[in-house]
């Protein structure tokens, strides 16, 4: 019981430092990267200005995959050690991950139209990314459908972990199946593309991850507050305040 309460408190103190860093980090990384992307980076010699979509597309997809990995890992912690904080993290990460996945797919479609002449093709990476979106949504549906917090957390965790199979498919689909996507998923070493381009992209990706972290921490804090409020209200509305304590200590003597 003690560790249960101690950890959220520790988390809160820690988040007081980490959240602003991530928030500011996200702002100072994402906004300049966009300005760079739109106005400073030269147009690609093949694709022209359409190339600029990459700077919102790639970070979103990276952040989405990262979010799923985060969800799966948090689920693992929540499942094995039944850590409530890990479960909260998983729970709040899912909708954020879904939003990033949506952004990745949406910008990808708009990039695909001028580039390949089609908004959507059913190649392996697009399909597996779409699958990822549905995995996020499925996870959220499970969490919403099961009322019992305890069971909801554990069943959701299993589903999230099972869905992690999709992650390597997203990652390696380009290499496994010939696809319209560039392999080596937009080279970060900068050997192929202009240096300012890769720097801008890299900054954007880091920025998106900061934003993801900030959103997760912030939403976790609200979730923790909400849970505490609910617990307090339930306790106060209980006619017999002693039952709560009886349940853990009194009953075994019966």
């Amino acid at each position: 019981m003690l560790s249960y309460f101690a950890n959220p408190v520790r988390f809160k103190t820690l988040s007081k430092w980490v959240a602003p860093i991530l928030g500011i980090g996200a702002a100072v990384l994402i906004i300049p990267s966009w300005i760079m992307a739109l106005f400073i980076v030269p147009a690609d010699y093949q694709q022209g200005d359409t190339f600029r979509i990459m700077y919102v597309h790639v970070p979103a997809v990276f952040a989405a995959s990262g979010a799923y990995a985060f969800l799966a890992i948090a689920s693992f912690f929540s499942f094995v050690w039944r850590h409530p904080l890990a479960d909260t993290a998983a729970r709040v990460a899912a909708p954020i991950g879904a939003a990033f996945t949506f952004l990745g797919l949406f910008t990808g479609a708009l990039w695909g139209k001028p580039m390949w002449g089609a908004y959507w093709v059913w190649d392996a990476r697009l399909t597996s990314t779409l699958v990822m979106l549905f995995l996020f949504l499925g996870y959220m549906a499970i969490r919403a459908a099961i009322r019992d917090e305890n069971i909801s957390a554990r069943i959701g965790a299993i589903a999230a972990m099972a869905g992690a199979i999709n992650l390597p498919i997203v990652k390696y689909s380009v290499e496994w199946w010939s696809s319209l996507h560039q392999s080596a998923s937009i080279n970060l070493s900068g050997s192929e593309i202009d240096n300012s381009m890769s720097t801008t992209l890299f900054v954007g990706i880091i920025g998106y991850f900061c934003l993801f972290g900030w959103l997760v921490i912030n939403n976790m804090l609200s979730e923790l507050d909400t849970r505490r409020t609910r617990a307090l209200v339930i306790r106060s509305s209980d006619q017999r305040p002693s039952t709560a304590s009886k349940q853990s200590t009194g009953n075994p003597d019966a």
């Binding site: 952004l103 507050d225 409020t229």
Partner: protein, 52 residues
Amino acid sequence: MPELLDFGKNSIFIWTCYGVTIVVLGAMIITSLRKKKLAKKALAIVLEEQKP
């Protein structure tokens, strides 16, 4: 500076991408902040009620 914002025939794609991204990310940030504020407030009210 209209020429700076003009990316040729594919302008509309680029601006839609950035626009939607900003809207979605912005919405997430705003709801997150609002939720946090509301949760804090609700907790403060309940704590205040239960003090006496």
